[in-house]
Amino acid sequence: MATKKPAPRAKRAPSKPRSVVLVATRKGAWIYHGDAARKTWRADGPHFLGHIISHMMLDPRDGRTLLAAAKTGHLGPTVFRSTDLGRSWKEASRPPAFAKAPTGQTGRTVDHTFWLTPAHANEPNVWYAGTSPQGLFRSEDGGVTWEPFSTINDDPKYREWMGTVQDGTPDGPKLHSIIIDPRDPAHLYFAMSGGGVHESLDKGRTWAPLVDGLEVVGGFDATNIAFHDPHCIRMSPANPDRLYQQNHCGIYRLDRPSKTWVRVGKAMPKKVGDIGLPMAVHPRDDDTAWVFPMDGTDVWPRTSPDGIPGTFVTRNGGKTWKRQAAGMPATDAWWTVKRQALATDAADPIGVYFGTTSGELWGSRDEGEKWRLIAQHLPEIYAVEAGELR
């Protein structure tokens, strides 16, 4: 399906990078264009009104191409691609789909594509996708056709670790946090909720779990990979040997070549705890990272703890955490931030952005010290990404 937006766009200066924030929601997608100071934002949208957009990504390799993972309540999942910043979209001719099961066996079906990751800078047009239920896919033609990784999707051990739909998150088990080492396109990571963290050193031909040090819910066996529930993993762009993770059971850091995660979330205030969904990392400082805690007590309300929202930042690799909530509601804000909905740009000072389950887009131009509402009354926000157009 190809879609056209009716209104022509104003011409823009071609050379200077311009900030954009991509917002994927339960009812469509929006592109927010920032001015040079990132002070005012122009909304472009909705794109795909009524479609469930799980993720929208700008290709940093060209600063122009967008991919969007879409489905609707009734139609099957697909991926759309735009090479003109969303003026027109073209559907993938072969969206992510599992292999057809042999006769007599029950096969899996992709419910939705959840995560999109552009591949290594030296692999133009290569993308990775993670799906719900858990599946890993790769495209070598810019997102037009997608091939499954049988080493994950059909491997008996991985299938066991993925569990069943009943073991997954409330809106389906997911493969997410696909990360490519910028020094080596064959070095990959991904995570599954549930099903743990995994690493490949040979471009996905073989994989191994990477869960040492991670805790699991009380009463479950941490040696069983199926019980591990990473929510979001980020690699430090400044130091690809450092990974941060927001897990179902705390905040962690991993410094390679170590294979043991360290729970740095224990330094969070006890009243807030270290449960949450998203994680963001400073693009130039490997000691700086952000989380957005949520209430993970009792029945897991998945709201801001006590209705008081705030990001927390560490400037020392997780030894200490500082609350950053200036500009946010001081009380009675019962929303939270999903695992793909906290992002940073690469400006100086960097901008930090998050989208809420209540449809608000927030931004900070000073690394989280002060927050400002960029947009409100959007549908539930699933993902926020920041980038620079070229």
Partner: protein
Amino acid sequence: MKVLIPTPLRSYTKKKREVEAAGATLSALLADLDRQYPGIRFRMVDEQDQVRRHMRVFLNGEQVFDLARPLKPTDEIAIVQALSGG
């Protein structure tokens, strides 16, 4: 034969609510539809060849799930979005 297209799929058929497609079976008919309107089949039939949960196919008013169901040129097919979701 005549195929009625529901509103969520009309972005594929250039807004047409009724199109012509051919096939000796329902599977062949859907393949012909996908040839004419690329991508439409996967939105309504999954990779295991099952009609998706919220989609329905009617053959001359009778609901059918079997993609191997034989068709005649005079048959009429209606693709319908299920009345689910409130």
